[in-house]
Amino acid sequence: MNELVTRALLPAGLRDALPAEADQEAEIVWRVTQTFKRYGYARVKPPMVEFEESLLAGSQAGMSRHCFRLMDPDSQRMMALRADMTPQVARIAATRLKGEARPLRLSYAGQVLRVKGDGLRPERQFGQVGAELIGADEPAADAEIIAMSAAALADVGAANVSIDLTIPYLVPAIIGWSQVPPDIAANLRAALDRKDAAAVANLGGRVGALLADLVAASGPAAVVLAKLDGLDLPPTARGEVVRLKEAVRLVQAARPDLALTIDTVERRGFEYQKGLSFTIFARGVRGELGRGGRYLAGEDLMEGAGETATGVTLFTDTVLRALPFPAAEACAFAPFGTPPAVVRALRDGGNLVRDGFGPVADAVAEARRLGCSHIVEGGKAVLLPANPKEAKK
């Protein structure tokens, strides 16, 4: 292949966003952070790169394999590029904002980079917009994050959004309590991940029937909550179900139109979550629009105990897929010689105006060539006449 041609090639998983899309993505980020702001979340901006031991502290060690590293020639220490922004915000809360009143509400937006994409998201770089609620343990805090996520997605125009709730450690707790042998437990977890109720019942020993019931208990929130009431859960699990129920009640009160489902067996990607967690889907859209839940923030930093927190991260690339392609925006062409005061007045009025840099024979044709919908004439933006060439087709 010609070397000059291959110079257009980007590394796998990286891409250019072109005009309409880049604009739409910026709009999503702006709108979502504005929604978070209206709930009282203040925006923070951590750096893209940090020392790896702070970025990967505590429960974040699992992110290690996703991070690009660079050596800091200055301090001679290893730095990691962020693969996820939540731990950075948790670090800010545990260090510089340690003295601020709790609960602390923070939001953020930025790009993350990962060593490898996965099957559903081949992108190695993508945008995250999120919010973290630190130091509040009430079910109302879980509900606020979930309802606010739904509000943010409604504000950007995403349709048919549904949020799937889970209690990620419920099943591990039951498996641990049942003392299923480790080699069988691995197969049992695989069967649970595949939702194969028959295999779960077979492998689960004395908790097989209970786990199979949990697999079957997934679907619309109201139906599942009723089913969970009928199950003989261990006492520790019962407390989490009470919290789930209260959070569902509060979310439904805040967003009665939101589709809420429950799947207590879901645990993939929630390995470090400490309580009520969720995944955001949209009908017909591949992959997840976002996810979040309860975790321990600031573990292994400063005094190291960490504090309870919950939060949400939206993935801008998937959110973008859930939205219709934006309609072309109206833009006016100002032919060479249009008085600057006219152009300025139009721009001040919120119009998009492209200036002509030299005289042209046919200003209308020039406006069309530049992709404009209007032309500035007599101090106003006038819609271009229908294109005779297109009319013929």
Partner: protein
Amino acid sequence: MPANDKLILALSNGRILKEVMPLLYAAGIRPEAEFDNPDTRLLRFQTNDPRLDIVRARAFDVATLVAFGAAHLGVAGNDVIVEFDYSEIYAPLDLGIGKCRLSVAEPADLAGRDDPRKWSHVRVATKYPNVARKHFARRGVQAECIKMNGAIELAPALGLARRIVDLVSSGATLKANGLVEVEHIADVTSKLIVNRAALKTRHGDVQPLIDRISEVARAA
């Protein structure tokens, strides 16, 4: 209702299709007449349920279609499911059909003087490089896998690889090619598979279908 709002069930051609159709009929799912025309050029078929279409694809593609949400449901063997190990696929129901096994096989004369316990490196031809690699890694054996898409049994005779990892049902194909099974990797049956997001966002459409098929599979 937009066309893409229909549920899509992906089925693979061949042996499994013959076994799965009676189950679908029993569950009240009947494809249009063209489905049974062996010369049809159609790949997508309507059913008696206006909200459900059936598509036909190769076995590996059924898993891919369902993983990416292009099809909402499908029928695939667990050989295919574990080979890809897509996190977006649920396999809620073992249909108990398409029974066979995934095995390591080698020429009969080699098997006579070979002890699989002594392997440290093997070269295998297979449709399932991931499954094969994982299987041998668990045994501490380094595996060099040559991916083939069919006629795996030819590989030993032609000198491509001495051993193969492939599906075995009656063993007749192996025998005809002078091969014998030396190791069993996994039992295979066909499963009903479901796209994860579809089960969450269209639970009301998808779950009743799973329940219906589940009932007839249990009765069968």
